[in-house]
């Protein structure tokens, strides 16, 4: 006789909402007439993400373990889930933008047609839109939300794949520069699958060492016998798999290529949401399963944090393509986020958890906004991402230049922006845990990274515009909404961060 596990439907509502919307999206794709499918798909995906966001907000304060112990519903998990759902809804709005590209969509009409073939050229100018991206993105968002709630390694692995597989596909679906996009998809897929294999081997070793993959069992086993080599090896492999997803150097090599090749709305989605999900999983794994054996992961995280900050900041200096530059910026930011993970402290007593959660929210909003601005600046029929094309943008479009400058300043961590508050919080958490050398390196890396952000601002404001410069597209309603929300939030989280910081602090608890 098999006993059914206890299943709290209320606690699972956010996940049910988004996965339900994704399944409805698949049905719409199959049965709805093509000419009216786009608005329907966008609505279904938005209902799913916004519904999931509302459900997480309604659940605020609840704390339980459900689905037979496989899923944890707690403050930190709900905060991160709400962040993912909100940022996911904004990304979907970017996907839905139809007034920027002359062919009315950033996504290829038929991904199966070979790039450059006569049929492809024929479809390039057609205004037929492809709507498969919406259910795919919904599945990815659902996977990310599950990733932060997983309370055992097997669920975490399944969630990792549910979020990755759709992302591999949609990063290969750009309408313009299809070869670059397909190449990005192949690289992302091969390296992503390689990294999941490492995660999986880590899972198997931890299972061998502790006899279970449940986080609470792993914790008690690591307390009883913390020196087990199998356990430590398994933990290292698990962390490698997760650091890959979080694009932390030295596991970052896919990041610049994929960020550059993927369609810009998808890049925005990956930069914002995948980062939140990956760090959510890292935090939960290290806090719940290995929080009492802090010495096992601290040196590893300490080392990769330094490498990531330096690689991101130094290689970012040499970039001439804005999307690549923002990719290296995301690598540097992953390093800054890891200083917050160090701030977790022994048994999670430090303020690192709340600080990292706030940083993820601030960074996600800012980077999403920066990529949204990138979709506006166009040359010919594609996006103008080369730095030299941005020269003198302020004289052509002061508003767009000002918004971009705001996002770049926030990424650089200038006071009165969200980036400063976030950096201050994670550095303080690291120093409180005695990791002041790490905080020192982080400050130096921030100073180096500030140079390449400020270089773009100088270029926009103090260079004369080129004669055949890019045009500034007039955004439609979706992109306008995204820019308004992200810009407002970037300023608000910089000037009055108190209430959000309080929420993060109250929520900063994992059950397990």
């Amino acid at each position: 006789m098999i006993e059914a596990p206890d299943l709290s439907l209320a606690a699972l509502a956010p996940l049910l909402f988004i996965f339900g919307a994704a399944c409805v999206g698949v049905l719409v794709e199959a049965f709805w007439p093509r000419d009216t499918r786009h608005p329907v798909q966008v609505s279904v995906a938005l209902v799913g993400t916004v519904g999931a966001l509302v459900c997480t907000l309604l659940l605020a304060g609840s704390r339980e373990i459900t689905a037979g112990g496989a899923l944890a519903v707690d403050g930190a998990g709900l905060f991160l889930q709400a962040t993912i759902a909100g940022l996911g809804a904004l990304s979907l709005l970017l996907f839905a933008e139809r007034s920027l590209d002359p062919a009315r969509s950033a996504f290829v009409t038929s991904a199966a047609v070979p790039a450059g073939s006569p049929r492809d050229r024929e479809l390039l100018t057609s205004t037929r839109v492809q709507t498969e991206v919406y259910p795919l993105a919904s599945f990815a968002i659902g996977g990310m939300m599950l990733f932060t709630a997983a309370n055992d390694l097997l669920i975490m692995f399944v969630a990792l794949e549910v979020l990755s597989l759709p992302l591999y596909l949609i990063s290969g679906m750009a309408r313009r520069r299809r070869l670059l996009s397909q190449e990005a998809a192949v690289k992302y897929f091969l390296l992503g699958a390689f990294a999941s294999a490492f995660f999986l081997y880590g899972l198997a070793l931890v299972y061998g060492a502790t006899g279970s993959v449940r986080f609470s069992d792993i914790r008690s086993a690591s307390l009883a016998d913390g020196t087990d080599i199998l356990l430590v090896l398994g933990l290292a492999l698990l962390v490698v798999g997760l650091l890959f997803k979080a694009s932390v150097a030295p596991f970052h090599t896919w990041t610049p290529d994929v960020y550059q090749g993927a369609p810009t709305p998808v890049t925005a989605f990956m930069a914002a949401c995948t980062k939140v999900a990956a760090f959510g999983a890292i935090l939960r794994l290290l806090y719940v399963a290995f929080g009492t054996a802090e010495w096992t992961w601290r040196p590893l995280v300490y080392g990769v944090a330094i490498v990531s900050m330096i690689v991101g900041a130094v290689l970012g200096l040499t970039q001439t393509d804005l999307k690549r530059m923002l990719a290296y910026s995301s690598i540097a930011h992953a390093g800054f986020l890891l200083t917050g993970v160090i701030g977790l402290g022994a048994g999670g007593e430090g303020s690192g958890l709340a600080a990292t959660m706030f940083y993820l929210l601030a960074y996600g909003l800012t980077t999403l906004g920066a990529f949204a601005v990138l979709t506006l600046i166009r040359v010919g029929d594609g996006e103008a991402t080369h730095l030299s094309q941005w020269a003198g943008l302020a004289s052509r479009s002061p508003l767009v230049a000002a918004v971009m400058a705001l996002f770049l300043l926030a990424l650089a961590g200038i006071p009165l922006t969200a980036g400063f508050t976030g950096k201050f919080a994670v550095f303080r958490a690291a120093i409180e845990e005695g990791a002041w050398p790490l905080a020192l390196v982080a400050l130096l890396a921030s100073a180096v990274a500030a140079f390449f952000y400020l270089r773009v601002i100088v270029l926009m404001y103090f260079s004369s515009p080129a004669a055949d410069g890019p045009t500034v597209g007039v955004p439609g309603l979706p992109t306008t909404i995204v820019l308004a929300i992200t810009a407002t939030a970037t300023v608000a989280l910089g000037i009055v961060p108190g209430s959000v910081l309080d929420v993060a602090e109250q929520a900063a608890i994992f059950v397990g």
Partner: protein, 99 residues
Amino acid sequence: MTLTYYLVLAAILFTIGAVGVLVRRNAIVVFMCIELMLNSVNLTLVTFARATGTVDGQIMAFFVMVVAAAEVVVGLAIIMSIYRTRRSASVDDANLLKY
């Protein structure tokens, strides 16, 4: 019967797979090496299930198989689309994105 042999065999298979991913040039072969890594994990899981006397490891092996199958679908679709355009599945030919 020692279970250690199975674990060592799995570790060797995993290493062969990992080295294959790093040195082989054809995307399909790289992908097959990743599948080899996943299967070595399955062997490890089943061995540990036997060692600990629980069935969890065997159930997890099924999960891994299902996920690997889904990965094949997505992966072959992506490799197929780039092959149709370039008439080559070599990872060295995909070199437009760099530095």
